[in-house]
Symmetry: C2
Subunit: 114 residues, 2 copies
């Protein structure tokens, strides 16, 4: 998957998840969500086209995998791959930074270590 701007691991990481939505979706995975409709329910109110395109690129980068539709519920589920789960530390440090440095933020979604 090599068209990153430079060989810098920081800019290359940002090439994957440097936007306003991708890590919000990953956060939701850690919070236990796995269904399209569950991601839509989050307070940030992602729109359907953005969600669909982010899920696609997350899969492309091997951070999540799509499951089949459940025969019982008719719902498709997604889950984090091992690589996706390795983003835990990134989210954790960002959450702590936000809590310390942005007023009005609060710990709400418990992000259990994977």
């Amino acid at each position: 998957m090599g068209n990153h701007r430079s060989c810098c691991p920081i800019s290359s990481s940002l090439d994957i998840f440097g936007d306003k939505w991708t890590l919000v979706i990953i956060r939701d995975f850690f919070a236990g969500k796995s269904l399209y409709s569950e991601f839509l329910d989050s307070p940030e109110k992602i729109s359907t086209n953005i969600l669909a395109s982010r899920l696609k690129t997350l899969e492309k980068h091997g951070l999540i995998i799509e499951g089949k539709k459940s025969i019982k519920t008719g719902k498709k589920s997604y889950k984090l791959t091992k690589r996706g789960k390795s983003l835990y530390e990134v989210l954790d440090v960002m959450a702590n930074w936000g809590l310390k440095n942005i007023k009005g933020t609060e710990k709400r979604i418990s992000v259990p270590a994977p």
Copy 2:
């Protein structure tokens, strides 16, 4: 500065630096850069309008401060505030993630702890 999408510290952090460029600039600060022209020189090749606008919002959020132009060199310099320096851990964990998970990345810019 309160118009974040939710009270989540992760999404609120992303409201500030959730894009492809902001953390690249912060990385450069940690690498010792402080001049407009130095940021332009980075291998990612940020364009001038993006750099100027990012410096502006970084200042607005209190992560950097603008210095006056030097009378000797005619150059203006920017530097990280304490709050800006507190982003060190975020960069550090992202750099490690990239090194482990994105092939072709390499440790190049030494990021000394602030």
